[in-house]
């Protein structure tokens, strides 16, 4: 394996997950290049979030293989995968409600640093963590709320904190699970601009139902249905494919 410059950021082959008799993902194979913008679409229950959970390690795969920059991560725990450059956001907001925004983002920074094991110095000792957390909050337009509790935020702001925490990890592969879900039109535009501004070192894989917004962000599109890859390729080709129209666009 050429580890110096792998040609694939994420390589999934013949991935399968079954819950008893129910097969959630069925022989899924995908290849994501470094820096690629990939949109994953499909009707409800198509296996999109299951696929994400398999990639992050929240779910152990029944069969198949996942490689991250050439490293076989199929049997690694989620935190090991995070250290290899994988980050994600959640469809259902998963934040630390009783803590401030700054603390939330700080945790995102701390997770990859050795100082997370520090047992005798207070967290405030690490001034660079605070500075960096505030810089990231500024980037998502929430600096003015840095000292507020997450529980006091509006829904749309929480979505942006989700993104900020993942960005704090400076991931090489970022999985966004419906980052636009439940947002107003104005908020959509804000988050869309944030996603568009993610640096090119990061490959972005996004599940999203809002096709109007999401297609603008995507270079490549994968259509899943009943846990199988139906169509996979360049954006325009997938959109034009009759199978896409049949499964997803309902035309």
């Amino acid at each position: 394996m050429n580890s110096a410059e792998p040609t694939c950021a994420l390589e999934i082959s013949h991935l399968r997950k079954s819950f008893g008799g129910l097969v959630a993902t069925h022989d899924v194979s995908l290849t994501i290049r470094p820096g690629e913008r990939r949109l994953i679409i499909g009707p409800n229950g198509a296996g999109k979030t299951t696929l994400f959970n398999q990639i992050t390690g929240d779910l152990q795969s029944t069969a198949g293989q996942i490689r991250l920059f050439g490293v076989d991560v199929t049997h690694l725990t989620p935190y090991r995968r995070a250290h290899l450059g994988l980050a994600r956001t959640y469809q259902i907001i998963t934040l630390f409600d009783r803590d401030t925004l700054e603390h939330n983002v700080t945790l995102g920074l701390l997770g990859l640093r050795p100082s997370r094991w520090q047992m005798w110095r207070p967290l405030s000792y690490y001034g660079d963590l605070s500075t960096e957390a505030r810089r990231i909050l500024d980037a998502v337009g929430l600096l003015h709320l840095a000292d507020s509790l997450v529980s006091d935020l509006a829904y749309g702001e929480k979505r942006r904190v989700e993104l900020a925490m993942a960005l704090a990890q400076k991931p090489r592969v970022l999985l966004l699970d419906e980052p636009l879900a439940g947002l107003s039109n104005a908020e959509r535009a804000t988050v869309k601009a944030l996603i568009a501004a993610i640096p090119r070192e990061t490959a972005v894989v996004m599940i999203e139902h809002d096709m109007d917004t999401a297609l603008d962000l995507a270079e490549t599109v994968t259509l899943l249905n009943y846990g199988r890859v139906i169509v996979d390729g360049e954006r325009d080709a997938v959109v034009a494919d009759p199978k896409t129209r049949e499964v997803y666009l309902g035309v």
Partner: protein, 310 residues
């Protein structure tokens, strides 16, 4: 203002033996021991989200090891204390591996089962533990040649140990690691995705809590100069858990307040009320209804309200 209150409180603690009689000084010593024990349990329950019903294992085992080594095997108190704490901590490491296979109710049941095994052993292995008779005739250590046999000197010794333990546990939960621990309590899945190792964080905390549980056990056996299997019983674990919850789990001082409350009710009220357990129950009912998050958070909320209305 806060500093003045803290200094006054510290002075009050140090000067207690010069104003109070031996009965109250001994009661205060017991409260200090129970407070260390409750604080160590709070690391698991309050900060780690791991509700244990077997924490008495660590208190009891540390006490038994020290008692056996000094009374039967002729160990001096110093080496006995080191072996006892090291042994208890090692046991916590093993128990942690077993108990952390589960979380929530499963974790609680495993800790309960493990402590019941130890309790059973203490009762049945009478050739070693002297069974239901317990081990009597123990002595207190003489650190730097100072006798701890008087109520006041033991109290000061316990106060010193309790202060160090409070400081160490407070530092632990305020540290970067403490933030990781609270994160794992609230959102374990997210923490793993951020690069934290939830299992390792919980395990280290479990061992640390076991260590301080052992320290409280040493003080316990020094104070009583006697050890009996009840120190390993579920009641002993449950009382500490009640103290933690009543005082305010996940707060720094709450468990100490809760432990004091339980001990006062047990020792003081039982002199006047025959059914002190019923009184204990009523007090907890009151706390749960009026201050569901515990005495310390409840009171500070009240104080804030009064300040706000002024």
């Amino acid at each position: 203002m806060k500093w003045i209150a803290a200094v006054l409180f510290a002075a009050m603690l140090v000067l207690l033996p010069s104003v109070a009689g031996d009965f109250y000084v001994n009661l205060a010593s017991q409260i200090l021991i129970a407070a260390i024990f409750a604080l160590s349990l709070n690391l698991l329950v309050g900060f780690g989200g791991m509700t244990s019903l077997g924490h008495a294992s660590f208190l009891g085992v540390a006490a038994y090891i020290s008692a056996l080594l000094t009374s039967r095997y002729g160990f001096a108190h110093g080496p006995a204390a080191i072996v006892s704490i090291a042994g208890t901590t090692a046991m916590a490491a093993v128990f942690g591996v077993i108990a952390l296979r589960a979380s929530g109710l499963g974790f609680l049941m495993i800790t309960l089962a493990l402590s019941q095994v130890l309790w059973g052993l203490a009762y049945r292995m009478s050739n070693v533990t002297n069974g239901d008779n317990g081990i009597a005739g123990l002595t207190r250590p003489m650190p730097f040649g100072i006798s701890l046999d008087s109520a006041a000197s033991f109290y000061w010794f316990a106060l010193a140990v309790a202060s160090v333990s409070f400081l160490m546990m407070t530092t632990f939960v305020s540290s970067a690691f403490g933030s990781s621990l609270k994160g794992v309590r609230d959102q374990p899945r997210r923490m793993a995705a951020l690069g934290f190792n939830p299992w390792m964080i919980r395990w280290i905390t479990f061992i640390y809590a076991g260590f301080w549980g052992g320290v409280s056990g040493l003080l316990y056996v020094y104070y009583n100069k006697y050890i009996h299997p009840t120190s390993l019983s579920t009641t002993s674990s449950a009382e500490a858990l009640l103290g933690v919850i009543a005082g305010g789990s996940g707060t720094l001082s709450g468990p100490a307040v809760g432990a004091a409350l339980v001990l006062l009710l047990k020792n003081y009220a039982s002199a006047y009320v025959e059914r002190w357990n019923m009184l204990l129950g009523l007090v907890f009912l009151f706390i749960v209804l009026v201050m569901p998050t515990g005495i310390v958070p409840g009171l500070s909320k009240l104080l804030n309200l009064r300040r706000g209305s002024r």
